[in-house]
Symmetry: C2
Subunit: 412 residues, 2 copies
């Protein structure tokens, strides 16, 4: 047994979360390192969906809005997500897509800072975040400035009094670098700006402390580390201190103070409920709720510790096996600023990811040349990491892949 294999065995044997892997229905013969794009199927989901479809929809029909509490599900699931991101109950709603929730968050931030002309976001932010910032800025008559996180303190020092809000992610989705949520949130608040965070690559992957950090708004998706299913509903956090004054741009009937009153004019519901928009997609929403039960009794500090062990071990394997073959790790070795993925740069990223898939190792790539491997402490083992890097080493050394030019990859 090689040294790496021994190490993997030791680390897996000491893993306090090893039993959680049974909460996922992972296919035989597959090493799944793309849960940061689409989480795998939690075992709790199929029986819940069976019940939702046959009993709740099929038998109870319309009565399920009350009898099976469909009506409250966006708030109930919101609170369940909130428990994973440091949000006390009553501040998170689940529903719609991350894009729609971002639109709401950024629009609300503009309304809360009517006299400030700038929205500031990350030039390396995930595309939808950049596009939505542009869209909100147009409709609210603001300007977008794209400022790298490292440059943000300087920018705020000179332009801070004009900034309505900053919009960042704690995780660079390409490199897996962590940005300092606490420092950037404080920097925004010091100049009177609001802080909006996109938690797509953080929620469920590490502890997040929204209330403690005083974050104003946050959004995220349900289908990455929360494993809520393809296109699972997103979520929106709005800090309670804004609940008396914030304004949402999408005045749907379910966010009305009296949704069944059929009133002529919109009167927002109190609290987070005003961020409800239209009728929520119940099948997808209750699948997400079932998926979240995979976190029952799981300590996010343990999740973080294991995630760092997995990515640290991945970087070790990469150093031994892959760096000599031309792979350049671009994920920080410093665990303080490393999220739950490892990214490697290689000019044949596309062909290599395709070749790995034929061997049952599922990862993804991001244009133009990044191979991306996501680990999830709830089900990834160190042996998985060793197997993936070993397959990649064999693929590159045997040239058993298609060295076509890189092409855009799969869904984020």
């Amino acid at each position: 047994m090689t040294e790496l294999a021994e190490l993997a065995d030791q680390l897996d044997a000491a893993d306090p979360l090893a039993h959680v892997r049974d909460r996922f229905l992972l296919p035989e013969g597959v090493i799944y390192l793309d849960g940061n794009s689409l989480g795998p199927l939690p075992a709790a989901v199929p029986p819940v969906l069976e019940d939702v479809v046959h009993r709740q929809w099929g038998t109870d029909l319309i009565r399920s809005w009350n009898d099976n509490d469909w009506w409250e599900s966006p708030l109930r699931v919101g609170d369940a997500v909130g428990a994973l991101i440091g949000a006390a109950p009553g501040q998170v709603v689940a529903g719609d897509s991350t894009s729609v929730q971002l639109f709401t968050a950024l629009s609300a931030a503009c309304d809360l800072r009517p006299d400030r002309s700038l929205l500031v976001t990350d030039p390396e932010h995930f595309p939808t975040d950049r596009y939505l910032a542009d869209s909100v800025a147009r409709l609210h008559g603001r300007e977008v400035r794209r400022v790298a996180p490292a440059d943000l303190p300087d920018f705020l020092a000179s332009h801070g009094d004009r900034v309505a809000a900053i919009s960042y992610s704690p995780v660079d989705f390409r490199t897996g670098e962590l940005h300092d949520m606490a420092a950037l949130t404080s920097a925004a608040h010091e100049v009177g700006a609001l802080a909006v965070w996109d938690l797509c690559h953080a929620a469920g992957a590490m502890p997040v402390h929204l209330d403690d950090l005083g974050v104003d708004f946050a959004v995220g998706c349900g289908y990455k580390f929360l494993s809520g299913g393809p296109g699972a509903p997103a979520f929106l956090y709005a800090a309670a201190r804004h609940h008396d004054s914030w304004r949402t741009p999408l005045h749907g009937w379910t966010g009305h103070a009296e949704p069944f009153g059929l009133a002529a004019d919109y009167v927002p519901a109190p609290g987070i409920a005003r961020a409800r928009i239209g009728t929520p997609p119940i099948l997808s929403l209750l699948a997400l709720e079932a998926a979240l039960s995979a976190f029952d009794g799981v300590d996010l500090a343990q999740v973080r510790a294991k995630s760092l062990s997995l990515t640290g071990f991945f970087l070790r394997c990469a150093e031994d096996l892959l760096a000599p073959e031309g792979f350049e790790p671009i994920t920080p070795t410093n665990p303080d600023i490393r999220a739950s993925q490892v990214s490697l740069r290689h000019p044949h990223a596309y062909g290599l990811i395709q070749a790995l898939a034929t061997q049952g190792v599922i990862a993804d790539m991001r244009a133009p040349d990044v191979l991306r491997f996501g680990v999830n402490a709830l089900y990834t083992s160190h042996q998985d990491v060793l197997a993936a890097t070993t397959h990649l080493h064999r693929t590159i050394t045997t040239s058993d892949y298609d060295p076509t030019p890189n092409r855009p990859g799969a869904v984020t």
Copy 2:
């Protein structure tokens, strides 16, 4: 056998759509007249969802975006809906909620008519339509005028050159009265305004001719007459002639011309695809797609004919059994202006609907005093109608219900 029972038998015996009822899993002992709020479970849905969950998500995982064509599903399902509303392929996208789609449609209409200050909508429109019009008007710097359909021609004659768009539904969701889509669309176009239609209560219930009428934008939900499941994704129609010039307010990454290119700036996809926003809720979306197969081989002219037969028979039963007991039908007797529901006014609507439910007759109410009975030609029989009205007659004559003051009812 009574005369009404004989008539019901005759009408059901001659029903060319009787066999379609088997495409729905209707619970035993229930007469379901609330499909205009939530359609029942189509038999095609459970096996498809089983496949989507276990094979597509559970086994194929992230690869399903390509291998099981999840990526194209919003457009594919959009085209399937389009076939039911008179839209040639490439003009309808499925996803999000009706509220979000309305926001997109009304915002796009404002952008296409930048110099016109008014959005005109129906004072009796469904609440979300009114609230979204207000919301879009605020963000685009326009004013909303609420004008009843009957008054619209006069209003347009005097203010038409200031109107950017009109936003109406062909069906009054309370009374079931049909408004004249052709006439109102033409009236809007004559003054250079755009026509936006909400088809929630029309799609799947009757033929709709969006292309032929020259409608500009239309939206609708998937969970009423399309029976796509609770909160099923909505749809948006944008006429092809606007595809070179329209602008959507929610610039999500899936609507980008190169969604995997991770470009810094938003470049809209050609055609209807730019109305895609975020990652769609695949479970709910593919359930809707399966549900639409209930329309396979079904002629919407037959659907309309049977729907009118059902509502006509309902009004006949109401006249004989219910009018003498104080129920006032508010649905038009003229079939030309009658949609696929019958509404009765009674001061004890709430208690009566509750009492009916205990007898297995599911209908709903709308504040303050409307009992609403939706029929769906795909599964409702004339015997269902007779049984429902007979139950209601028995309930009122035996006073076997709670005559509490009316309260807001269930979900639309």
